[in-house]
């Protein structure tokens, strides 16, 4: 279109557009717009979330992981407690596809162990003549699936009579990979319980204190102060000492996690409170009040969303603390005990310098921990963006 503008500095002509004018005209909506127009807020958020590929991938990864912990008996090549006394501290075994240039499918070489009596080290050597093809959907260690029915089908097993330790074995000859797979069960569930408890408490209490202020806030603040003053380790020690001896270790651990959750809300509550102290002065809060909204609604619908990013970040960042929380407990001799295992336990088993020096494969459990933490964080990022109106 040509410009009606006069040359610079020249007087302005009177320009009138000749385009047709209809005050009632509206642009036709594209299909996309119609869809957006009818969608609910959740759906909108899902659409926005979908655009964040990494978050999506993380979400899928986590879903798969959680599905996996349901069937870990099947996925793990060995049982949690299967030992092989002939393969103590065996390093990871590589999976090969070609033997002497010929394709034979996935297989591992058999191994021979020699014990060096001078240094008391076990040395393992691949026996390249002993090809042990892996079996899939095969029969191996028997287990009781979810304590319900007997089975012995595994996704992958070593050749009959052979062994395959993809991530090596520990000091009792137990398969590290299988233990990692089993460990996920505890690590991915119990810790999250603690987070949930502390989050709910933190948001509710902090929200009420920040929104209402006054005497309630005063009391909550003092309670928080008191709770924050008690460091967790003495608490663990005392709690562990008074837990009835007859409770099973997993139950005790569960109880401690929940109690910790019950005590851990303070930091979050303070953050929520101080943020709300500021936010509650906003006009939109007043508007909601004048509509007759109850505090729960104002906190839940108006204030907390404004704080969502922080909450998501805090949640994702406290996940490692919860997954690994037991390592600190175990370190003090209070954590989970065999026969149960978790990633934290697997890691505490590697608590001497000699492991780092000689058996570094026992550090493998850090990898799933890192992956899970990354996944949760990227998922959190995606959620944050989905909830962000400015995106």
């Amino acid at each position: 279109m040509t410009s009606f503008l006069p040359a610079p500095g020249e007087p302005m002509p009177h320009y009138v557009s000749t385009a047709p004018f209809d005050p009632y005209s509206v642009e036709a909506m594209t299909d996309e717009q119609v869809r957006v127009n009818q969608a609910s807020q959740l759906r909108l958020m899902w659409w926005k979330f979908r655009r964040h590929k990494l978050a999506l991938a993380s979400g899928v990864f986590l879903v798969v992981l959680y599905l996996m912990i349901v069937v870990c008996e099947f996925l793990a090549p060995y049982n949690l407690h299967t030992r092989n006394m002939d393969y103590i501290y065996a390093p990871p075994q590589a999976v090969h596809l070609f033997h002497e240039g010929k394709f034979v499918g996935p297989f591992v070489y058999g191994r021979t162990m020699t014990l060096d009596m001078d240094t008391l080290k076990r040395n393992y050597a691949d026996d390249t003549n002993d090809v042990q093809p892996l079996r899939f959907f095969c029969r191996g260690d028997g287990y009781r699936f979810w304590g319900l029915f007997e089975s012995n089908v595994h996704f992958v097993c070593p050749a009959t009579g052979g062994e395959a330790f993809f991530l090596g074995t520990d000091r009792l000859g137990r398969d590290v990979l299988s233990r990692i797979i089993y460990g996920a069960r505890i690590s991915l569930t119990i810790g999250l319980l603690g987070i949930t408890v502390s989050f709910v408490l933190g948001i509710v209490i902090g929200g009420l204190a920040g929104y209402h202020g006054g005497v309630f806030d005063l009391i909550v603040q003092r309670v928080i102060e008191v709770l924050q003053s008690i460091p967790s380790i003495p608490l663990w020690l005392s709690l562990a000492a008074i837990m009835p001896a007859t409770w099973s270790p997993i139950f005790i651990y569960l109880a401690i996690t929940i109690i910790l959750g019950l005590l851990d809300w303070t930091g979050l509550a303070r953050a929520v409170r101080s943020k709300l102290l500021a936010l509650r002065e906003e006009d939109y809060v007043l508007a909601a009040q004048l509509m007759g909204a109850r505090s729960s609604r104002i906190i839940g619908r108006h204030l907390v969303p404004g704080f969502m990013s922080h909450l998501i970040a805090t949640a994702t960042i406290s996940i490692p603390g919860m997954i690994l929380g037991e390592t600190a407990l175990s370190f003090l001799g209070l954590g989970l005990r065999p026969p149960i295992t978790s990633w934290g336990i697997l890691l505490t088993e590697a608590k001497s310098v000699s492991v780092i020096a000689f058996y570094p494969w026992l550090l493998f459990p850090t990898i799933p921990v890192i992956l899970v933490i990354l996944a949760f964080n990227f998922l959190g990022d995606g959620l944050r963006d989905a909830a962000d109106p400015y995106k």
């Binding site: 202020g213 006054g214 603040q221 003092r222 928080i224 102060e225 008191v226 924050q228 003053s229 008690i230 460091p231 967790s232 380790i233 003495p234 020690l237 005392s238 000492a241 008074i242 303070t266 930091g267 303070r270 953050a271 409170r273 101080s274 943020k275 102290l277 500021a278 002065e281 404004g306 990013s309 922080h310 998501i312 970040a313 805090t314 994702t316 960042i317 406290s318 490692p320 603390g321 690994l324 390592t327 600190a328 370190f331 003090l332 934290g344 890691l347 505490t348 608590k351 310098v353 780092i356 020096a357 850090t366 921990v369 890192i370 933490i373 990354l374 964080n377 944050r384 962000d388 400015y390």
Partner: protein, 332 residues
Amino acid sequence: MLRYILWRIAAMAPTLLIISALVFTIIELPPGDYFESYVAEIKAQGEGVDMEQIEALRKEYGFDQPPVLRYVYWLGGMLQGDFGYSFEYELPVSAVVGDRLWLTILVSFVTIIFTWLIAFPIGIYSATHQYSWGDYGLSLMGLIGIAIPNFMLALILMYFANIWFGISIGHLMDQKYLAEPMSWEKAKSILEHIWIPVIIVGAAGTAGMIRRLRANLLDELQKQYVVTARAKGLSPMRTLVKYPLRMALNFFISDIGSILPAIISGAEITAIVLSLETTGPMLIKALQSQDMYLAGSFLMFLAFLTVIGVLISDIALAILDPRIRLQGRSTK
């Protein structure tokens, strides 16, 4: 404001009182007492003990009296600056703690500074360069830092620091400097050692801080007042620091109260693994052996730090945000 501060300080007294009662309960909670664990420890080493001697000691220290009375004595003592007696060391608590307190505070402060120095720039960078490679990379590093348990990080760092740099394993300094007064050499040795605990203890906090700072900043960066600041011609950095960062600091400041105690207690495991000359291992040991006055006084010290921290945090919050400072007065 002044009145508020005075009032807050006055409110600390009852809080501390309640805390002291709680602390006492927590220490009392586990069955048995110091003498019990003392006997156990001695016996575990195959030595013999004279139970009657122990009984006599128990009387000596008033363990035949009801806990409430002992609590009152302890509290009374503390008010007079007497923090009680360590059974384990058979010395007054104040004598036992000695240098450890200063080293603890040193480590904690260095850690806090380290955390901030790293977390703030990275957090800001991550927020302003969301989804850039830098954002991903730095986040990744921080997250890996928290994904590895402290004790393991400690072992790994310690081991490789020894292998690669020849730094002696563990501790805050070469042990030959332990008994010596401060000197250039000693300071150097401390510097050589302190980075390991600082990195380990700081790792978790740093990552947490980066992520939360980033999240909070991302929320603020879009606000209209940021646009206004840009429209004034303020440079992006200055804009960020003066406006959104200050807003985003809310969460950070509200948490100041627990930073120091969190670092001190978060460092406990690390301190044990690294055998640092800080209060952490001593506290844990005291708790385990039920050396109750030692443990109790430590805990009260931590509590005191917390309470002071919360006070500072409340005041800082009021300075930071006038809406909080003038709450209840301005609008209602």
